[in-house]
């Protein structure tokens, strides 16, 4: 298929978690990582977050493909953009290197590393969520999270018609190729190139609008939207594991916030 999801089919502790738990997990890591500027805690967070990969039985190849570029990118930019502002983490600061007008302070280096680590701590949780959650579970999860079911069902419609539209795209592209048009070798000047998507995009959008009307009729005939709520054929079950995971995450979040408020109020500098 043209569009393939990164979802990796499998049976692991993480796969079995309720989608809501996994969403909460991403959210919890976000809050925990953002609450602190302390490398020690962030390192613990990163390790615990990275542990999710083996727990989800994610193939190391996939992890490498995602992590290594991210690592290089974040590290490079964190240092390149923060390390040269000696006072970025407040005063006082200690210059460790000076060459002409370039001043690098210990605090700026630490700050850069901390910021990089903060981002990295969130990253594994987010990727594991995507890799272990089949998109079709999303709409039920959204509905259970009290999001109006009509909005949740948008996700269903999108997933249902993704393969259909991908096929339409192929057919339309072929129909235009048969007229001598190649989208990746557009003719004409700059505007012509910018418009190169239109011979495929216009037919696809118009045909979809036509189809949308047919689908809406079919759904109306089967009573979509007549009540304020609806039931779902598939169920999500909050198991004991879910409660345990959520509790641990909640403790983590509270701990981080308390630490921030009372103990680790500012950037931690090891000296």
């Amino acid at each position: 298929m043209l569009v393939s999801f990164k979802y990796i089919h499998g049976d692991s502790l993480i796969h079995r978690l309720d989608v809501r738990t996994k969403l909460f997990m991403v959210f919890a890591y976000l809050v925990m990582a953002l609450s602190l500027l302390d490398m020690r805690v962030l390192a613990i967070l990163f390790v615990s977050s990275a542990m999710l990969w083996p727990l989800a039985k994610t193939p190391m190849k996939e992890v490498g493909k995602l992590l290594i570029p991210m690592l290089i990118f974040i590290a490079f930019f964190s240092f390149a953009t923060n390390a040269f502002y000696p006072g970025i983490a407040g005063k006082p600061y200690h210059i460790v290197y000076q060459w002409g007008w370039i001043k690098i302070s210990l605090e700026a280096l630490i700050y850069s590393a901390t910021v990089a680590l903060r981002y990295l701590a969130i990253f594994p949780a987010a990727t594991v969520f995507i890799m272990t959650t089949h998109p079709t579970k999303m709409s039920v999860a959204l509905a259970k999270l009290k999001i109006p079911y009509k909005l949740a069902y948008v996700m269903n419609i999108a997933l249902r018609y993704l393969p259909t539209l991908a096929l339409d795209y192929e057919i339309i592209k072929n129909a235009q190729r048969a007229r001598g048009f190649e989208m990746d070798r557009p003719q004409g000047g700059l505007v012509g190139r910018l418009k190169a998507a239109l011979p495929v995009m216009i037919p696809m959008v118009m045909d979809s609008i036509n189809r949308a009307e047919l689908i809406a009729d079919a759904m109306d005939l089967r009573c979509f939207g007549v009540y304020k709520d609806r039931t779902w054929y598939h169920d999500l079950k909050f198991t004991k594991t879910d409660y345990i995971v959520c509790t641990i995450l909640l403790i983590g979040v509270i701990t981080c916030i308390l630490l921030r408020l009372f103990v680790l109020k500012r950037l931690w500098v090891p000296v």
Partner: protein, 565 residues
């Protein structure tokens, strides 16, 4: 008891100035099977919408008169109450399959009506077993054929346990075998489960074959005839005038009757036609028919030499095809969905290059040419005109192809002019192609291919989803091209269409050609056709019943033969 009672019904859509329905009266009794016949635009879909409640609950407009379903006024009953009594199966299998899997789709209506999970499980299992799809609960829609999707739609309707089921052109997108299966289900639901069935179709012959209790004929928003099949057949003139094609065997009888060679009412089946013809007519058809078209000794315009094609996904679409198409031939390319017919056309224009073997267009290997070069010889007219049109005017649309191929200004002008001439599009040249009617849009697509000055044209399902009159109008353009000497390949499921317009038929199954020869012979071979999910026309069956050599010929040909004899 009256299942449906319609009195003085008129309806005008809010965005339209004319009434789509005009003073319709109709009664359908419980347990009856009613066929509503009529050309496109006659108001039959609007009538169904008035019964299932889409009108007036979703579509706004001016509504006069009443529609009652088991005594309840549709206009005053909320749509979810109606849906428990009336279920509707629509035309397009793709757009009514809204679930991500079969079971979710069947449960869709129940979910919306807040059924409990246990009840849903039970009803889903029950309805899937009725349509014979048990075991396919987890399948995704893109893994299923059109016929299977249509059965899922039917199961979804059955799960809500309506006593009336409406079918809105349910056969339009299906091959003949799948269409027969759906018709069999209708019959079973009617006879075994006592459901009241209303079918809207213009494929008269196929529906009639399985039997109906009553027929209503609609034209221009009115019911112009109503009665039993026998009653309706007596008014064949009216049917023909309305633009409905008679069953092919009845067409023969109708023509004979005009010459005084047929007495009494028109027949309702092949058997009846045969038994009434047997005594009176002795046909001799040795000699003239069954002659294969002359073997051209010219160079083929298209040649496949042991061609194999495997898609990147691993699907083996073409498995060893040898084929020669000669200039001036009109060929029918037939076979079930997924047999490789469309792949064959894409290979011919070089959009796909063979994995193994060679494809030669006018002697040039497609691997040594670009699509743009091959498009000067080969043109493809895709099934859905919406898949092609995007320019702001018909003229620009038609000029798009030749401009891409790098023809000179003066050539482009000449080709565009010619193409518009052939397709009668001159008066639309400044119109936006997307604002035209379906038939006109299809013509723009032919012109857009003709303007590239090709000599070989592929037509993918040229008449699918169109009524008799529109099909005939469209085919008249293909006829015109045939007379101008174009080589034409028509991809179709429609056996009679192939017989009427093509001399040669090629049948593909599973990426291989299993038959290639004169249409008359190939399309009369029942076991062969069965493999391709096709079936012989009633003319072939009639000839067999008359102890004539069963040939695949048109009703016109048979009737000429019978008159001569």
């Amino acid at each position: 008891m009256k299942a449906i009672e319609i009195k003085g019904l008129s309806f005008r859509y809010v965005e339209s100035e004319v009434f789509a329905l005009k003073n319709v009266d109709l009664v359908v009794n419980e347990g009856e099977k009613l066929l509503i016949l009529g050309p496109s635009g006659c108001g039959k879909t609007t009538l169904l919408r008035c019964i299932n409640g889409l009108i007036p609950h979703r579509y706004r407009g001016e509504l006069l008169g009443t529609v009652k379903v088991f005594g309840e006024n549709v206009a005053e009953t909320p749509i979810h109450k109606i849906s428990l009594k009336v279920g509707t199966v629509l035309q397009d299998p793709e757009s009514q399959f809204v679930g991500i899997s079969v079971e979710e789709d069947v449960a869709f209506g129940l979910e919306n009506l807040r059924f409990s999970r246990e009840e849903m499980r039970r009803l889903v299992a029950e309805s899937l077993s009725v349509v014979g799809l048990t075991g396919m609960e987890q399948r995704a829609p893109h893994e299923m054929s059109g016929g299977q999707k249509q059965k899922v739609a039917l199961a979804g309707v059955l799960a809500m346990r309506p006593s009336v089921i409406l079918f809105d052109e349910p056969l339009a997108n299906l091959d003949p075998a799948s269409a027969d299966e759906i018709l069999d289900f209708m019959d079973m639901l009617n006879k075994e489960y006592g459901k009241t069935i209303v079918i809207v179709e213009h494929r008269f012959e196929q529906v009639l074959e399985k039997g109906v209790d009553k027929i209503a004929v609609m034209s221009d928003g009115r019911v112009v005839a109503y009665g039993t099949p026998e009653d309706i057949m007596e008014r064949a003139d009216l049917l023909v005038k309305t633009g409905i094609r008679l069953p092919l065997y009845a067409e023969v009888a109708y023509q004979l009757k005009k010459r005084g060679l047929w007495e009494g009412p028109l027949p309702l089946s092949v058997e009846e036609t045969a038994s009434r013809l047997k005594g009176s007519v002795r046909a001799r058809i040795e000699g003239k028919l069954g002659v294969p078209p002359e073997k051209p000794d010219r160079k083929p315009i298209l040649e496949f030499r042991d061609v194999h094609y495997v898609y990147p996904t691993g699907v083996k679409a073409i498995r060893g095809v040898d084929l020669k198409i000669y200039p001036g031939e009109v060929v029918a390319l037939m076979g079930p969905n997924g047999a490789g017919k469309s792949t064959l056309s894409l290979l011919s224009i070089g959009i796909l290059k063979p994995t193994r073997g060679r494809v030669l267009v006018d002697g040039v290997d497609t691997r040594d040419a670009t699509v743009a070069q091959l498009a000067r010889t080969v043109g493809i007219i895709f099934q859905n005109p919406n898949h092609m049109l995007f320019k702001n005017s018909v003229e620009e649309e038609i000029a798009f192809g030749p401009k891409n191929l790098g023809y000179s200004e003066e050539e482009i002008e000449r080709f565009v002019e010619q193409a518009m001439q052939i397709c009668d599009l001159k008066r639309y040249s400044g119109r936006h192609p997307l604002s035209l009617s379906m038939g006109e849009r299809k013509r723009v697509c032919i012109a857009a291919a003709l303007s590239m000055n090709p000599r070989l044209l592929f037509f993918d399902e040229p008449t699918v989803g169109q009524d008799h009159r529109h099909s005939e109008a469209f085919m008249s353009y293909i006829k015109r091209l045939r007379e101008k000497g174009y080589t034409i390949v028509i991809i179709t499921h429609n056996v009679n269409l192939a017989i009427e317009y093509c001399q040669r038929a090629i049948i593909m199954v599973d990426g291989k050609i299993i038959a290639d020869g004169p249409t008359q012979k190939v399309l009369a071979d029942e076991p062969l056709l069965k493999k391709a999910r096709l079936k012989p026309t009633s003319i072939t069956r009639l000839m067999k019943a008359l102890n004539l050599p069963p040939l695949a010929i048109t009703s016109q040909d048979l009737q000429t033969l019978l008159i001569k004899s």
